[in-house]
Amino acid sequence: MTPPTVETAVEAAVGPAVELSRAGRIPRRLRVWARRVARVVESTPATIGVAIVLAWVLVALLAPVLAPYPPNTTDPLALASPTPSRAHWLGTDHHGRDILSRIVWGARTVLTVAPLAVLGAAALGSLWGLSAGYYRGVVDLVLSRASDIVLTFPVIILYMIVLATFGSSALNIILVLTVTKAPIIGRIVRGLTLDLREREYVAAAKLRGESALYVMLVEILPNARGPLLVDMCLRMGYTIVLIGALGFLGIGLPPPDPDWGGMVRDTYGMMSVWPHMALYPCAAISSLVIGFNLLAVGLRELALRD
C-alpha cells in the first residue's frame, strides 16, 4: 500500500478538488453562454426585463397564430360598439379593425425596425468612437465636432426633412435612426477607448506589430462590450419611443401596416369617447420600453458585481 499524499488526504477530507477544465459533452462555448444567460436571473430587474422583452419577441414571432384576425380586416358589426367585447378582447378602432390583432402585428414592425436601427447605430458609433479615442488628436477633433453637429440638429425636423424627401419606408427610418443615434454610442465608445488604449495588453499588441484596426477591433472593442450592451438596451427603449413618435407624426411606417404610433395618431381624437383605441397601443409601447430599460438596469447591476 502506498503512503497517503497530502492531496489524497485533503481529498479524503473535503472531497475532490473542482477541476478547472472538465471535458464535458456540451461544447465549452455553449456552456459559457448558458452560464451567462443563467446569471441574468441573479438580478431581479434583468429578469423582469428579459421576461417582458422575450414575451414581446414571442408575440411578434407568433403573430399569425396569436392574432385573432388579420390586422387590416374591418368588422362592420363592431363599428356600432367598438369597445372591448368577447369577439374583440381589446375592442376595435373606428374602422372596425381589431386592436389586439393590430398590436400583435405591430410588435413585428417595431421589433424589426428598432433592433436594426440600434445595431446599425452601434456598429457605426463603435467605429466612430474607436477611431476618435484611439487616434486622438486631429481625428478625434474632427469626429467629435461632427458628432456634435449631428447631435445639435433637432432630430424630429431632420426626420421630417429626410423622410419627406426620400419617402417613408422601413429602410429609410432605420438609416436615419442609425445616423442620428450613432454619435451618442460613439461618445460612449470613445470614452471607453481612451481608457482601454492605455492598457498594457494594447502596448503588447503594438510590440508585436498589430495594425491599428486589429488593436481597435480585437483588443479594445471586446472589452468595451459591457457598457456598450447596457447602452444598446437603453437606446432600444428610446428608439421604440421615437418610432412611436414618428408614427404619431405621420412620418412613420407607411399605412396600412399596423404601427403602434400610427394607431395612436389615428384614434387619439376619439380619446374622450373611446379611450381604449389609443391607450392600448400606448400601453404596448410603454411595456416594451420598460422591458428594455429594466434589462439595461439589470445588466449594469450585474456588471458592477463582477
Binding site: 488526504a9 485533503v10 473535503v14 473542482v18 465549452r28 498594457e200 495588453y201 503594438k206 510590440l207 508585436r208
Partner: protein
C-alpha cells in the same frame, strides 16, 4: 522600551484588561455562492502601548480582521463567532452611538491610500480641527492650537500647511496628515492598514520612523497590518503571521523573525530577496503552489498543500491547536510539526563575489538619451510647459546579463522602458541595439525582425493580458505575428511555451480571470518569449505580486536568461529584488542616472549619496539589522523646473554647498564601468559606511 520586552502582555503582570482582545474570532463573508469563512478562528491580544504587526500575503484575512475590530465589515461580512473586546468591553454588544463615540476618539485608523481618507474639498486644517471639535467639543481657537501642535509632531511644522488642500501635498505629506488626524484624539488603539504601501521607499522610511516615535510619545496601542515583513520590524514589538485567516505564528519580532517555527514563516523569510542575496550565491526558495481556495479548506492545517514538511497522516485531518513554543515564552505557533523541524538558518549574507564569466559584447547601448514631454499643450501644439522625463541617460547592457534600472516614482524609469521599446520616441540621443539605431523609431515603424528582438513584460498582471482573450490566443497570436508560425502549429507551440514558463499546457484554454497574478505574469513572459527575443524589458514585473510568488517569477526570469541568453532590462523600485537579479544597476533620480555600475560596486561604497539613502531605507525583516538610517528631508523639485546643478541637491544629506545647486555634478569613475555623478570627492564617498 525595547522590542519584545513590553511588560503589558506578560500574563498576570497587570490587572487592567488589554486594549484589544480577540477571542476565537470567526468572520464570514456571505456571497451569492454561500458563506465564505475568511477567518476561521483567531485569538490575539494587544496591551497598552504595545504594537502588534499582522503580516501575510493578499487574501490572508489581515485587513478583514482590522475592519471587524471597528465593525466596518460592510453588508456581506459578519462576525460569526468569538468576541472582540475593546478595553474589556464586548464590541458586539455596543449600540451605534457607543460605537461612533469609540471610532475616531478611542480607536483611530489609517488606511493605505491617504487621498481616499482626506476630503479633497476641505483644507487640511479644517479636517484636523474637526476631530477635537466633534469629539471633545473644543472651540475653534483651541482646536487650531491642537492641530498646529499635531502638525509639529508629524514634522510638518509650517502653519501655512493648515490652509492647504490635500491635492497640494505630496503622498508622504498626505499620509502624515492622516496619521496626525488619527492621533489628534489620543486614541487608545491605532490601526494602521498598509500605511506605506503606496509610498516610495525613502518616504516610507520617514513615515515608519515617525510612527515609531509618535507611539512612544502617545502610548497608543498599534495594530499594524502589512504584507511587508521589513516594515513590521521597524514599528512593532510583536508580530503575528497570518495564513488563510489563521494566525499561524505569533510572538516578539525577535522570536518570530529570528527563530521562526512555522513552515510558512520560514518560507516567507526564505523567499524574500534581501540586500545580501544575489542569484549566483543564495537563490531564493519560493513557496510552492499558491494560496488555495477558501472553499476547499481542509479541516487541518490551511498551509498543508504548500508545506514541504507536511505529514499527510496528521496535518490535514484534525484542527491544529495554537501551542506555545517550548522554552520561548510569548511565542505561539499553529503547527503540529514545529518542534520537529530543527532550527531555521537565515539565508547568509554573502560577501559580494566578483563578476563571473568573460565580458560579453554590448548588445544595448543608450547614449545621451533625452525625453521631453510638453504638458498642457493647446490643440495646435503651442504653449505648455516642458517636463524632462529623461535627461542625458547613458547606459549599456552586455549580452545575456541583467541591467536593472532602479529609482523612485517619477525618476523616469518607466519612460526609459517605453523609449527602448518604441512605445514612445526619444527627443534626443541614441539607443542602439546590436549597433543599429532604434531610439527615434516608434514601434509601428520598426521592422518585424526588430520587434522580435525586443519584447516587454509589464507591471500589472491585471492589465497585461486582454481579459477577452484566452491564454492560448494571447501566446499563439504572438507566435503567429512574430515568427509567422501557421495557426495549427502555433497551438502546439503554445503548449511548449507554457511549459517553459512552468505552466500547465491546459491553461491555454483559460481566460485571464481564471488565473492568479503569478500565472498571468508567467503567461506574459511566455508571450514576450514567443519571438525568441534578444532583449526583454521588464517594467516592475513582480511589484504587484505577493512575495512567495515574486520569488518564483524572479527565479524564472533568471533561469530563462541562463538557458536562452536573453538580455534583461529589469526596471524596479525594489532594491532587494534588484540586488538579487541584476548584473549591472543604474540608479535614476529625476530622469538622470545618479550612479551606474556592476551590482556589487553600486551596492558597496563608494556610494552616490542617493544610493546610500535608498539602501538605508530598505526595510529588512531582520531583528538584528543594525543599519544606520539616512532620512531624506526636503522636497523633490518639480519635473518642470530647469535644474542647473545636481537634481538631488534639494534632498541630499551630504550636500556640499551652493556648488551642488549651481554646477552639474561631474561624473567620477571609481572603477571601470562604475560611474557616480556627484561633487563629493571619491575619497570621501569611499569612506562612507556600508549600509
Amino acid at each position: 522600551m525595547t522590542r519584545g520586552e513590553s511588560p503589558a502582555h506578560k500574563e498576570g503582570c497587570s490587572a487592567a484588561p488589554p486594549v484589544l482582545e480577540l477571542q476565537d474570532l470567526a468572520i464570514s463573508y456571505f456571497t451569492r455562492a454561500g458563506e465564505l469563512r475568511v477567518v476561521p478562528r483567531l485569538s490575539v491580544s494587544l496591551g497598552h502601548g504595545e504594537a502588534l504587526g499582522l503580516v501575510g500575503e493578499s487574501g490572508c484575512g489581515k485587513s478583514t480582521v482590522a475592519l471587524a475590530v471597528v465593525r466596518y465589515l460592510g453588508r456581506a461580512g459578519r462576525v460569526v463567532g468569538g468576541r472582540i473586546l475593546f478595553e474589556g468591553r464586548d464590541m458586539a454588544a455596543m449600540g451605534a452611538a457607543e460605537l461612533s463615540a469609540l471610532r475616531g476618539r478611542r480607536i483611530a485608523m489609517v488606511y493605505q491610500d491617504p487621498m481616499a481618507s482626506l476630503n479633497p474639498v476641505m483644507t487640511v486644517g479644517r479636517q484636523l480641527m474637526e476631530v477635537p471639535m466633534a469629539h471633545e467639543g473644543l472651540g475653534r481657537p483651541d482646536a487650531r492650537e491642537r492641530a498646529l501642535r499635531m502638525l509639529d509632531e508629524v514634522k510638518l511644522s509650517d502653519p501655512a500647511m493648515l490652509d492647504r488642500y490635500p491635492h497640494q501635498l505630496s503622498g508622504g505629506q498626505q499620509q502624515r496628515i492622516v496619521i496626525a488626524m488619527a492621533l489628534i484624539a489620543e486614541p487608545a488603539l491605532l490601526i494602521l492598514d498598509e500605511p506605506t504601501t503606496g509610498l516610495d521607499v525613502t518616504v516610507e522610511a520617514a513615515v515608519l520612523d515617525l510612527v515609531r516615535e509618535l507611539r512612544r510619545r502617545h502610548n497608543s496601542a498599534i495594530l499594524y497590518i502589512s504584507h511587508n515583513l521589513g516594515t513590521v520590524v521597524r514599528v512593532c514589538d510583536r508580530v503575528g503571521v497570518m495564513y488563510g485567516g489563521e494566525l499561524v505564528e505569533e510572538g516578539a519580532i525577535r522570536q518570530v523573525f529570528g527563530n521562526p517555527h512555522h513552515p510558512y514563516t520560514r518560507g516567507l523569510l526564505d523567499c524574500l530577496p534581501t540586500l545580501g542575496r544575489d542569484k549566483h550565491t543564495a537563490p531564493l526558495r519560493p513557496i510552492p503552489g499558491q494560496v488555495g481556495s477558501l472553499r476547499a479548506r481542509p479541516p487541518g492545517c490551511g498551509f498543508a498543500l504548500r508545506c514541504t514538511h507536511v505529514d499527510p497522516a496528521r496535518c490535514v485531518t484534525v484542527p491544529i491547536p495554537v501551542e506555545p513554543v517550548a522554552d520561548d515564552p510569548g511565542h505561539r505557533v499553529q503547527c503540529l510539526r514545529a518542534a520537529e523541524l530543527g532550527r531555521w538558518q537565515r539565508p547568509r549574507r554573502v560577501a559580494p563575489g566578483t563578476a563571473a564569466g568573460p565580458p560579453q559584447p554590448i548588445v544595448l547601448a543608450v547614449g545621451g538619451l533625452r525625453k521631453v514631454y510638453r504638458a498642457g499643450r493647446g490643440v495646435l501644439g503651442g504653449g505648455g510647459t516642458l517636463i524632462r522625463a529623461l535627461d542625458d541617460v547613458r547606459l549599456s547592457a552586455p549580452r545575456g546579463t541583467t541591467l536593472a534600472i532602479v529609482g523612485e516614482s517619477g525618476c523616469g524609469k518607466s519612460t526609459l522602458a517605453r523609449v527602448l521599446t518604441g512605445l514612445e520616441a526619444a527627443t534626443a540621443g541614441s539607443v542602439t541595439l546590436d549597433g543599429e539605431e532604434i531610439g527615434n523609431t516608434l514601434v509601428d515603424d520598426r521592422p518585424i525582425a526588430l520587434k522580435r528582438k525586443l519584447q516587454m513584460v509589464f507591471q500589472n498582471p491585471d492589465s497585461t493580458l486582454n481579459p477577452s482573450h484566452t491564454v492560448g490566443y494571447a501566446v499563439g497570436r504572438a507566435l503567429r505575428r512574430l515568427r509567422g508560425v501557421p495557426r495549427e502549429a502555433a497551438a502546439r507551440q503554445v503548449g511548449r511555451l507554457l511549459e517553459v514558463v512552468k505552466l500547465a499546457p491546459e491553461l491555454a484554454g483559460h481566460k485571464p480571470h481564471q488565473l492568479s497574478g503569478g500565472q498571468k505574469q508567467r503567461v506574459a513572459i511566455a508571450r514576450a518569449l514567443a519571438g525568441d527575443p534578444e532583449i526583454v524589458v521588464a517594467d516592475e514585473p513582480v511589484s504587484a505580486l505577493d512575495v512567495s510568488v515574486q520569488a518564483a517569477i524572479v527565479n524564472l526570469l533568471s533561469e530563462l536568461q541562463r538557458t536562452r541568453g536573453v538580455t534583461l532590462v529589469f526596471i524596479s523600485h525594489d532594491l532587494s529584488v534588484v540586488r538579487y537579479v541584476a548584473d549591472h544597476v543604474a540608479v535614476m533620480y529625476l530622469g538622470r542616472v545618479a550612479e551606474v555600475g556592476p551590482v556589487e560596486a553600486v551596492f558597496a561604497p563608494p556610494y552616490h549619496p542617493y544610493t546610500e539613502a535608498l539602501l538605508s531605507a530598505v526595510p529588512v525583516p531582520d531583528p538584528d539589522d543594525q543599519r544606520s538610517r539616512i532620512l531624506l528631508e526636503g522636497t523633490l523639485p518639480s519635473a518642470t523646473e530647469v535644474l542647473r546643478g545636481c537634481p538631488f541637491a534639494t534632498r541630499c544629506p551630504r550636500k556640499l554647498g551652493p556648488v551642488c545647486d549651481e554646477t552639474p555634478p561631474p561624473e567620477q569613475e571609481p572603477a571601470r564601468g562604475h560611474r557616480i555623478a556627484c561633487h563629493i570627492p571619491l575619497e570621501e564617498l569611499s569612506r562612507l559606511a556600508r549600509v
